[in-house]
């Protein structure tokens, strides 16, 4: 460990701020906000610093920090970033900064909200920089669990129609309530965690590693017989968080119920934890099994892409539309991952980044619209652009990135995934991805027109107004990033590419 521990600063800044907030009286709302936003700003600066300090020419894992915690079982505070880590660290920092700004107007128990949010974010940061599997898992859980409270306390409920063959279940389970959504989300993710935990220990045990350090495990190698069942466990375990079909149903309800900043973080960053886990832990540590299972992973991802897009097209509730679009876009990530090609992996990680920004922006906007219109049914809206032109502009920006318009980050990502899919010889994957992008165009533009265009707004929406004050910060930051990283992809792609090179080496230079 030499030099300033930027990684630790990134991870701990929100945590420290969260603890410090405990001492701040809940009445001093200004202090709470300033402390929170400032701590996220510290993380943002630190993560930019990490990106600058990372030596692209050298590659590999850098900025190591090492501190034994339980040497007897080989658990330690082992931090370090590779090219992927840098990318996702930046994404998290940008998104949480925007998220903290977007929550500025929250009034109900705001201190508690910020504390939980900061703890959650510290967990996310931790996952992206942990080299120690145990630490990785610990941070993973820290990132997932506060979500339950955040949704159950600050969420919103939805009327649910009793339909389908299992309609009799609805009442007993309180389907549609925010507690229901929070519970479902937590339970599904925890079941996934259980699978991860088992897989994790199996890998440590199987490889004969003396510690939980991923680098050591990778070096020793996990026996193929172990890999063959560990990989599916990790894929489904992490995949639940990445919204892998059919374990994605927590996502629409969870996102629809969650408050704005939580949706932003959850769709923007947390789902990436899942995909990152599948790739960084599952694929890199189990290369042989990955080759075996990749066709299935890809096939399921294809379902995700098209199914999610169609699901979004079928919805008329704004939050559900965005939530299903996340399912679809995360499918693109998994599709890229399954190609096992440099293009596909670059695209997958870029898609994590692009989708994080894009969906963060979308949820911020949805929050703004919902907070003013108190309605999410898009077909009852119309003409909102007249009273909220700024929101309309940014919604269009996010939508364009989502449908893969060149010049936006989304295009760079999706395009590379398509390249990877075809390079891997999978016509259907490439076609499905492209068709998914088209369906995205269909529903995004339809929604944009329904909300913002046309006569109106109807008289019942009398409280509409454009974004105000700090809310702009969130929109501008995210929107600008979408464009910058869409026009100048190498800013990020160089990092991702270094990471991809490093990790693909596990596949014997398969390219």
């Amino acid at each position: 460990m030499n030099g300033f521990p930027w990684l630790a600063l990134t991870v701990l800044a929100p945590l420290v701020a969260g603890v410090a907030l405990l001492a701040v009286p809940a009445q001093s709302r200004g202090t709470v906000r300033v402390v929170s936003v400032f701590s996220t700003l510290v993380s943002l600066v630190a993560s930019v610093k990490v990106a600058l300090a990372y030596d692209l020419a050298a590659g590999g894992v850098q900025l190591r920090e090492s501190l034994p915690l339980l040497p007897s079982v080989g658990i330690g505070w082992e931090l370090g970033v590779d090219g992927w880590g840098v990318t996702l660290l930046l994404l998290t920092a940008i998104t949480i900064f925007a998220g903290a700004c977007a929550t500025w107007t929250l009034e109900d128990r705001d201190k508690d909200f910020y504390i939980l949010l900061l703890v959650l974010v510290a967990g996310v940061f931790g996952v992206f920089v942990s080299l120690d599997l145990f630490l990785f898992f610990l941070f993973y859980e820290i990132a997932v669990l506060p979500m339950y409270l955040l949704i159950a306390i600050w969420g919103s409920s939805k009327e649910v129609k009793r339909l389908g063959p299992f309609a009799f279940l609805w009442d007993r389970l309180d389907v549609g309530g925010r507690e229901y959504a929070a519970m479902k989300l937590t339970l599904m993710l925890l079941i996934g965690s259980a699978a991860i935990l088992v897989g994790m220990f199996a890998m440590v045990q199987g490889s004969g590693s003396s510690s939980f350090n991923m680098l050591e495990i990778a070096e020793r190698g996990v026996p193929e017989s172990v890999q063959l069942w560990v990989f599916p466990a990790l894929w489904l375990g992490f995949g639940t968080l990445a919204g892998v079909f059919p374990f994605h149903t927590w996502s629409p309800d969870g996102h629809a119920s969650a408050p704005t900043a939580v949706s932003m973080l959850h769709a923007g960053v947390l789902m990436k934890l899942g995909a990152f886990g599948v790739m960084r832990v599952g694929m890199v540590l189990c290369p042989e099994a990955t080759v075996t299972w990749a066709p299935l992973v890809g096939a399921v991802a294809v379902i995700n892409v098209v199914y999610g897009a169609l699901g979004a097209a079928s919805q008329s509730d704004l939050k559900y539309i965005v939530a299903y679009s996340s399912v679809s876009h995360m499918g693109v990530v998994m599709l890229g991952a399954a190609t096992l090609t440099p293009e596909g992996w670059n695209g997958a990680v870029y898609q994590m980044f692009a989708h994080g920004l894009m969906t963060g922006l979308l949820f911020a906007l949805v929050g703004l619209i919902y907070g003013r219109a108190h309605d999410r049914e898009i077909f009852g809206m119309g003409g909102f652009a007249k009273v909220m032109p700024g929101v309309a502009v940014f919604f269009t920006l996010a939508g364009l990135s989502s449908l893969g318009m060149p010049g936006f980050a989304g295009f760079i990502a999706e395009f590379q995934v398509f390249m990877g899919a075809l390079a891997a010889g999978h016509w259907v994957w490439a076609l499905a991805g492209i068709v998914g992008a088209w369906i995205t165009a269909v529903y995004v533009l339809r929604a944009t027109r329904a909300i913002f265009w046309g006569e109106g707004p109807p008289a019942r929406f009398h409280e509409l107004s454009d974004a105000k004050g700090v809310e702009w910060v969130a929109l501008v930051v995210l929107g600008t990033c979408l464009l910058v990283f869409g026009l100048w992809p190498r800013l990020l792609l160089d990092y991702i590419d270094v990471g991809t090179l490093q990790h693909l080496a596990a596949f014997g230079g398969a390219s």
Partner: protein, 599 residues
Amino acid sequence: MSYAILAIVVPAASFLVLALVWPLRHTGRPAAWLSTAAALVSLACAVLALGEAPAMGAPPELLTWPWLVRGGEVIADVGFRLDGVSAPMLVVVTFVAACVQVYSLGYMAEEPPAALGRYYTWHSLFIVAMGGLVIAPNLLQLVAGWELVGLCSYLLIGFYWRKPSAGKAAVKAVWVTRFADIGLMLGLVLLYVQTGGFSWEAQAATSAVAAFLFLGVMGKSAQVPLHVWLPDAMEGPTPVSALLHAATMVAAGVFLVVRCWPLFEHADTLLLAMSWIGAITALVAAVTATVQTDIKKILAYSTCSQLGYMVAGLGSGEMLGGYFHLTTHAFFKALLFLGAGSVIHAVHSNELGDMGGLGRKTRTTMVLFGIGTFALAGLPGLSGFFSKDLLLEQVAHAGQYGPLAILLFVAGLTPFYMMRAWCLAFLGEPSPKAAHAHESPAVMLAPMAALAVLAVGLGYAGGPFGAMVGEPYTFHLTPVGIIATVVGLSGLGLGYAKYGLGKLQGLEVPALAAVVRAAPVDTFWAQAWSRGLLPFAKAIGWFDRYVVDALVNLTGWVAIVAAERARTIQTGRARDYLYAVALGAVVVAAAGTIGGISS
């Protein structure tokens, strides 16, 4: 080279300023002046760039930056490529754009300032996007520009966003063109997989790449059956229609084929298919145009028809005819649209029925519109004559007689419906609405005049143009050309006799038109959406909510029911718990005792 860069950078700067400095944008007219000035500078630079551009065959001037990497290697660049194909197109784009922007100063004068600023912002963006498409060093940047002009099209069709029909048209345009872009994307990705890059000069590419790319072309250049968005796109302001949906953006598809000619050149089956698709598009659109009563719809279908012409021309296996026709068409069709705009400006209606007798009030417009009509009709000496002649000759030379026959028929139909439009608008008795018509201001007439000059004279530039593109060309009249001219002139004559002089009452619009009026293709797509995709999506949505998610809920329900069974064990009476403890202890102890003693 630096001129070519300036031709893009200046409008880009204008766009950035207008987009970011919203107070300036909201002032309206200053924003318009800024954008227009940028467009004029861009035009000047493009003309200068044309002067210094190397012809095809000579090494192109390149300036690129690495854009995408893979495994440490650069796989795609962005930048500028000035050569014999991009330079002329750049002039076409900037010229028409500059004319349209100047024209809009008059045409859009009554818009609110903020809307006007927005309008010009998009126009600046359009020059950047289209210029980026034209000057692209590789197919990836071309496609990026392609999508961005699509975005401009979406935004400009939806300029009157409060009008529901405009919103629908804008969305429909993107839906249809992006549907076609599925093919384009596949082609692009396939090109990469086969050649490891995005150059259209790569030898390793198969004709499958070209075939996929052509699917995209069919959407963008409005080929049957994907032409349905173009007529609806007329919801946008008329200058927008002139620039995007007549002269440049819709021609991007044709330009793509020209640009990627090395990929298409040897794909024989594809070329034949292109000929037929182009010819059928030309015919269907032309027939449809004869029965329209909306002057912009006539021009839209005419554009569609002429794009079919170009595609068919490219299908002949030689690209000069198609490209030349693209250039000439850009000017005279833009002229026609601006003329139509002038008329609409005068009577505040698109309907031919609201016009009539405008010739007396708007003499200049009548003349300019007439020039456009004659150029489109292929009147000998005007630009359309030369390009159409070359195009038909190439089709004949390729021996594609089926498409040739159709194209020749269309060559007669085109002058007929254009003459109809001209006569109904400018001759005869004025309608009540036309009574108060007035000539448009000079700011609108001047760009039209500039376009008219080129509509007349560009045909004589065929030689240098051919040299530039790398395919030598000298004009010589062939039998096909003579037939086309005769057919064209008779079409003009028939049209004038029927609509100008009121003769030929027997010659009603052909019965075929009745079929076309039903617009079966449009209906087909509408049904595909409302009966196909949307219900399918709804079904998926239902399935997800009420089956997949319900299975998740089922597990929760099972847990609850199981717990309800299990909870009866808990009687809540201390005694029962004690019994459990005692018995447990007895059992454990018994096991231990017996085991301990017996061992």
